[in-house]
């Protein structure tokens, strides 16, 4: 009983941090019930994760953009445009995939740096600069696909990024062995990391969770990773899209939480003048953040076009808004300086779960938009009120 009460207390005190996870959990539970289990089926979860991929990578980049108090509206059509460029390079220029991918990523960085130039050097508000980009890239997609319309991509390697799964080692039949193995490794890494972190904190006399709460947290997170792995292993295993997203998240999570660069980004978001006077170059970091956003837009374009196995004239429509919504649901603050990469990923999952679940239930698209809008508003209201309560 006291365990339960303790857990309640910990939750209440950290409601802001855990709120998103709970929301995601609740949403998934509701859909599982309303769809009589279809939602939680291996096939659907696998699909859902693959669908989240191209928004998730955008949400990661957008988190940093919003943290430094800017916005980038151009990312959707930039992704669409670069997806088309990739298709053209594969189909008409006959370039191999391993050339096309770095090429397109490079173009993405370039595009991001152009926005950064307008923002940092010419002091144009990022809203306006990237709105211009939105129009330009939209036109550019229409331009490059004008002669051909939708470009079908026949390249199997390229298409595997959006549709393929990691290979398997055959030991136990019926499930995806390598996926299970990776899941176990992930759980072990997580536990080791948490324990060593806790030990360090104790050495510095920091406040840590009580032992029973700590074990509960370990069990819960391990269970969660285990469950996801199990579900995925029941279908085709881990998809390449999920691998790509995990790698991106791991890198960005590390950079934002552990490096000098990350510190500088959050410092700028917290108080640009103070950061500048402490030796942080705001201009330089605008290039870094928008450059990375451009690269992730390119990645999003690659994921999307390879998933559809084609480049369409409407690719990228509304991606930017989905990414921004994901970031806000995930707890970034428009005032700058606050927001976590992991949070935005959860935010992206919440938003795609809503779409997926409501699709399965056969809910009309008009209602879907309204529900998603309401969830976005609710998430931000929750965030703002719990933040103010802390003061």
């Amino acid at each position: 009983m006291s365990l339960f009460r303790n857990a309640q207390k910990v939750l209440r005190e950290n409601i802001r941090e855990y709120g998103m996870y709970i929301a995601l959990f609740v949403i998934m539970a509701i859909f599982t019930i309303t769809t009589r289990g279809t939602f939680i089926s291996s096939r659907n979860i696998s699909n859902l994760l693959n669908q989240t991929g191209y928004i998730a990578v955008l949400a990661v980049g957008m988190t940093l953009v919003i943290v430094i108090r800017h916005i980038d509206l151009s990312v959707g059509f930039l992704a669409g445009f670069l997806g088309a460029v990739a298709a053209i390079a594969l189909v008409f220029w006959k370039l191999p995939t391993w050339v096309v991918i770095p090429l397109v990523l490079g173009l993405g960085v370039l595009a991001g740096c152009i926005t950064a130039f307008l923002v940092a050097q010419l002091k144009i508000p990022s809203f306006v600069a990237s709105l211009a980009g939105w129009l330009i890239y939209r036109g550019a997609i229409l331009l490059v696909t004008a002669g051909t319309g939708t470009i079908i991509i026949p390249d199997a390697t390229y298409n595997a990024i959006g549709n393929g799964y990691i290979p398997d080692i055959q030991v136990i039949p019926g499930v995806h062995n390598l996926t299970l193995l990776l899941g176990v490794v992930a759980i072990l890494l997580f536990i080791v990391n948490e324990i060593s972190d806790r030990r360090k904190k104790l050495a510095y006399n920091f406040e840590v969770l009580s032992t029973d709460m700590f074990i509960l947290k370990l069990l819960f997170m391990s269970g969660l990773i285990g469950a996801i792995t199990w579900v995925l292993a029941g279908y085709n295993g881990l998809s390449w899209t999920v691998v790509v997203v995990l790698v991106v998240v791991a890198i960005y999570h590390f950079v934002t939480t552990q490096t000098v660069l990350g510190r500088h980004i959050y410092a700028i978001g917290g108080n640009p003048e103070a950061a500048e006077l402490s030796g942080v170059s705001v201009k330089k970091l605008i290039y870094v953040v928008f450059g990375s956003m451009g690269m992730l837009s390119a990645l999003s374009g690659i994921l999307f076009s390879s998933r559809l196995q084609s480049a369409t004239t409407t690719a990228g429509t509304l991606f930017e808004l989905d990414a921004i919504a994901a970031a806000y649901v995930g707890g970034v603050s428009a005032a700058g300086g606050v927001g976590k990469v992991i949070g935005s990923i959860i935010g992206a999952l919440v938003m795609t779960s809503l779409t997926s679940g409501m699709n399965l239930m056969g809910i009309d698209i008009s209602l879907q938009y309204i529900v998603r809008g309401a969830v976005l508003a609710f998430a931000v209201i929750f965030d703002v009120t719990t933040r103010n309560r802390g003061k």
Partner: protein
């Protein structure tokens, strides 16, 4: 004796990990000037926030009585209605708006739905006369100095017919003249029957103006002294604030600057493209190793601009002239380069461009020198904690832990965090711009001691200050700046308040 206009009884207010107020009682007689003093973090600002409804009823325990009537404010609006006006240390005016718009902001004079601008301007002029400010009410607030802005804040409070006016460190950003002006105004208001509660670390002011003084220490009321019974003196105040006697305001001068010139500036000038005029002209300046160089001058004379222009020119002035570091000509195009070269600049405006309020103490301290605690660009979080705790101890920063967000610290402790950042940057030349703004007497002495230790270890310090006693007590040599030029140089032995003021105003 008449019943007090205000009584706060057994007020207790806790924050996570801190008991900011512990059973505080505070009572104020009608029509007096009552000062509130105490060390940094003693709970002064918190007590006033409780009184003005910033912390609404229910978030604290205890009782507030106005003229004997219990009050339960659920916000600032309620306390305003009860006749309480508060002026925070950070001014809350809208810089882009005119004076009259600011005075009636949130309290607009309307006819139905429409603003009555004529009446607004007429009433605003009336208020300006009350605070003896002779300016056009249509002036934009950003075009006024801090001193005048402060008066406009008071005018704003008066327009709401305050009975009790609270001022939290109103003079900490003001120069001597503006401070005097403000104190005189408070005397006027008192004559008109307004009760004033003033928080200040400037004990001379407190002694000059207070009818009564209450001392807080560690969230507790220590005593309330009656000035008319001769109970208030500097020694008594300090003793009650700090809990022990402090005999010296400045540490003894034991250091001897060497002849070696560390930093030299020749024919330095700066043009501000935003203002469209020259703000610094023909400045020649030398700083020796192990020296504390005082820079005196009025507000707006160009002292801060001089410091910023040397420190990487973050404001983008057009510079002329030469800067030498150890005899080598240098040019810094960003504060980053200046820091690399061994310079550090403590800003005068800690909230505006000093601290990152939403981040914690350790992150604020490490920001300017993350290189030292990182390897291959990866921050060593444990080293950071260690460093932060070290500066917490050295500077005696009052906070439950270095993981506390800086916005939850008291004003003086925030200043110490700022200072900590620049000490950790381990500079060779430390430029301090108003280093003791908002810092209590005891802590001032500690900071002065640290400064003397630093110069003994070979650091050189440029100290910009508006407090003449500080300039006189600490400097080895003094430059006086006036309208963007160096009006004169004085050695420590020949400098006096009069000489400095004469140079500063000519």
């Amino acid at each position: 004796m008449t019943p007090p206009i205000l009584e706060m009884k057994n007020i207790t207010k806790e924050f996570p990990g801190v008991k900011a107020l512990d059973n505080v009682s505070f009572s104020v007689q009608e029509g007096v000037i009552h000062c509130l003093v105490g060390e940094n973090g003693a709970g002064k600002s918190t007590l006033m926030k409780v009184l003005s409804g910033v912390y609404p009823y229910g978030e604290y325990s205890g009782e507030i009585l106005i003229r004997g009537v219990p009050q339960r404010f659920s916000g600032i609006r309620d306390s305003e209605k009860a006749g309480i006006g508060i002026i925070y240390q950070e001014l809350a005016l809208v810089p882009e708006m005119t004076v009259y718009e600011n005075i009636f902001l949130g309290n607009e004079i309307r006819r139905g739905m429409v603003m009555d601008w004529n009446e607004t301007i007429r009433r605003a002029s009336q208020m300006l006369r009350k605070v003896r400010l002779d300016i056009n009410p249509a002036t934009r607030v950003k075009d006024l100095g801090v001193g005048k802005q402060q008066l406009i804040e008071i005018a704003k409070a008066l327009s709401r017919e305050v009975k009790i006016l609270i001022l939290d460190e109103p003079t900490s950003a003001l120069n001597e003249d503006d401070s005097q002006n403000l104190l005189n105004l408070l005397r006027d208001l008192k004559a008109q029957g307004v009760t004033c509660i003033m928080i200040s670390h400037k004990l001379k002011e407190v002694i000059a103006i207070a009818d009564a003084v209450t001392v807080l220490r560690d969230g507790r009321t220590i005593c309330t002294l009656d000035a008319h019974k001769g109970e208030v003196s500097e020694n008594v105040l300090i003793k009650n604030m700090v809990g022990r006697e402090i005999n010296h305001i400045f540490p003894p001068k034991e250091h001897q600057p060497s002849d070696e010139v560390v930093l030299e500036v020749r024919n330095w000038g700066a043009y501000d493209p935003n203002l469209g005029r020259k703000i610094l002209k023909n400045i020649n300046l030398k700083l020796h190793k192990g020296e504390i160089l005082g820079i005196a001058g009025l507000m707006g004379s160009g002292r801060t601009e001089l410091a910023l222009s040397l420190f990487g020119n973050s404001r983008g002035y057009h510079l002329e002239g030469e800067l030498y570091l150890h005899g080598q000509r240098r040019q810094f195009s960003h504060p980053h380069e200046a820091i690399r070269a061994g310079l550090a600049y403590l800003t005068e405006d800690r909230k505006g461009n000093g601290l990152i309020l939403i981040q914690d103490v350790k992150q604020n301290i490490s920001l300017a020198n993350l290189e030292e605690i990182s390897r291959n660009g990866i921050v060593d979080n444990n080293a950071e904690v260690k460093i932060a705790n070290q500066y917490k101890m050295v500077l005696n920063i009052k906070t439950p832990s270095v993981e506390q967000k800086v916005m939850n610290l008291s004003g003086g402790n925030q200043q110490k965090v700022c200072l900590g950042r620049w000490l950790f940057a381990r500079p060779e030349v430390l430029i301090l711009d108003e280093p003791t703004r908002g810092i209590d007497v005891g802590a001032k002495y500690e900071i002065y001691t640290i400064m003397t230790q630093l110069v003994q270890q070979g650091m050189s310090i440029i100290m910009i200050s508006s407090e003449l006693p500080e300039i006189l007590g600490m400097s080895d040599r003094i430059y006086v700046v006036s309208s963007g030029r160096i009006a004169g140089e004085l050695s420590a032995s020949e400098a006096t308040q009069e000489k400095i003021m004469q140079l500063a105003t000519d």
